[in-house]
């Protein structure tokens, strides 16, 4: 590979080239900063892929019968019979939209007539509850050192919490993580993201869930992946 052949770099990053091809790419990379930069970006994506286990790409039901399904259905029936209240979401309004659910799945249409509603792609999914769930907490914090300002909303869920932040004072390209510390002092990651130019200008909105009940949420912190503290809100 004497000239740039970027199309080799994808398979190279994923470790799928033959040894001879790898040697050729290595030879070119040694002399080409441009391709090295490109490769670094591709390898970053490879790291992202590592967040998903390979089993995520298996389809269909488990092999070997549906005993497990029957057991699960039995448990659901038992739980339902044991509780008068159906264990369904926080009472907002009993509307049809509440029971909308996006599912990545095989291309299956389960039988029945089209009685429910209109199918929509994810990109046009209607915004869910614009109001936070009842009992939420809201805190705004400013860090005088970093100059970042953060409006934090923590909403209760069944046994866990949804954390939503609106942060201003971030730089475009900042790689941020949303960290939640519980009352026992343990820190949970509720997600990470990269700040776009638009978000650097207008404020960056991000949300994530943690398995910490609302009353156990002590503080919410934004920190960069490089470990730089940005801002903390004590809930």
């Amino acid at each position: 590979m004497n000239e740039h052949d970027r199309t080799q770099l994808g398979a190279y990053a994923l470790g799928a080239l033959e040894p001879g091809e790898v040697a050729e790419v290595d030879e070119h990379l040694a002399t080409c900063a441009e391709c090295r930069a490109e490769l670094a970006e591709l390898e970053e994506m490879k790291d992202f892929l590592g967040e998903v286990p390979p089993e995520a790409f298996l389809e269909g039901p488990p092999e070997g019968g549906d005993l497990l399904l029957q057991r699960t259905l039995r448990e659901v029936r038992e739980v339902r019979e044991a509780s008068a209240e159906p264990p369904m979401p926080v009472p907002v309004k009993r509307s049809r939209s509440r029971w909308l659910m996006v599912a990545a799945a095989a291309l299956v249409v389960v039988g029945g007539a089209l009685g429910g509603g209109v199918a929509l792609g994810r990109s046009t999914a209607p915004p869910q509850a614009t109001e936070p769930a009842a009992g939420y907490k809201e805190v705004t914090a400013i860090d005088t050192t970093t100059g970042a300002k953060m409006a934090t909303t923590v909403e209760p869920r069944t046994g866990w919490s949804w954390v939503q932040v609106q942060v201003t004072g971030l730089k475009a390209g900042d790689q941020c993580q949303l960290l939640v510390t519980d009352s026992a002092g343990k820190t949970w990651t509720a997600g990470s993201w990269v700040v776009s130019e638009k978000a650097a200008k207008n404020g960056s909105t991000f949300g994530g869930g943690v398995l910490v009940p609302l009353d156990k949420v002590h503080s919410v912190e934004i920190r960069t992946l490089q470990g730089r503290h940005v801002v903390t809100a004590t809930i």
């Binding site: 994808g10 967040e51 497990l68 979401p89 509440r98 299956v108 089209l114 994810r122 993201w193 776009s196």
Partner: protein
């Protein structure tokens, strides 16, 4: 499997790979339909994952059962969650495995039971969103791009093997894998906007 009064899974035409459960206020049959649907679509993936994490088929089945029950209990949360339902289920399964491993670890008598099993990556186990974000991004790249990433990355195939599997020339596998990673990067860069509401 479903009647007109039960929730329906409707294929989203603009976005293959994504279906949407549409229906009225959930009733008893809805719960059963939800569980059956999740099991039929995600059961194999969940059980395989749980089996790898626990190293034990029976324990894995328990984890899958608990995951599905939680999905039913939290059906409302799934509507506000980010990323795919598959990502949500896998994350919950992983958390259950981790919680159980921790619970066992405080009971010394059973510790020996778990030492030779594949370790659960604890640095990942508390992250709720990442798996979902990446799965969501993979949902948004084209099927051709996703297929080539699955072959080369997740199945560890060589270019030649993937070419055979996908029925395209090796050169196409190479260029697709490059453009797939670029497309993924573009989607991930846009994730922030998608994630905000």
């Amino acid at each position: 499997m479903a009647t007109a009064t039960e929730p329906l899974l409707v294929l989203a035409p603009a976005n293959p790979g994504i279906v949407r459960l549409v229906g009225d206020t959930p009733g008893p049959d809805d719960a059963e339909t939800l569980i059956r649907t999740l099991y039929a679509e995600h059961g194999r993936s969940l059980l395989a994952y749980a089996t790898r994490l626990t190293g034990d088929r029976a324990a894995a089945e328990d984890v899958v059962q608990e995951t599905l029950v939680r999905a039913w209990k939290h059906a409302g949360d799934l509507t506000t969650g980010r990323g795919s339902v598959r990502g949500w289920l896998l994350t919950v399964a992983r958390n259950i495995v981790t919680d159980r491993a921790r619970a066992r670890a405080v009971r010394p008598a059973e510790v020996a039971d778990v030492v030779d099993r594949p370790p659960v990556q604890s640095d990942h186990s508390e992250s709720v969103v990442n798996t979902m974000v990446v799965m969501d991004a993979l949902d948004k790249v084209s099927p051709e791009h996703r297929d080539v990433l699955v072959q080369l990355y997740y199945r560890g195939r060589s270019v030649a093997e993937a070419a055979k599997e996908l029925g395209v020339p090796p050169g196409t596998v190479k260029s697709r894998s490059y453009y797939a990673l670029r497309a993924l990067r573009a989607v991930m860069a846009g994730t922030e906007a998608e994630v905000s509401r």
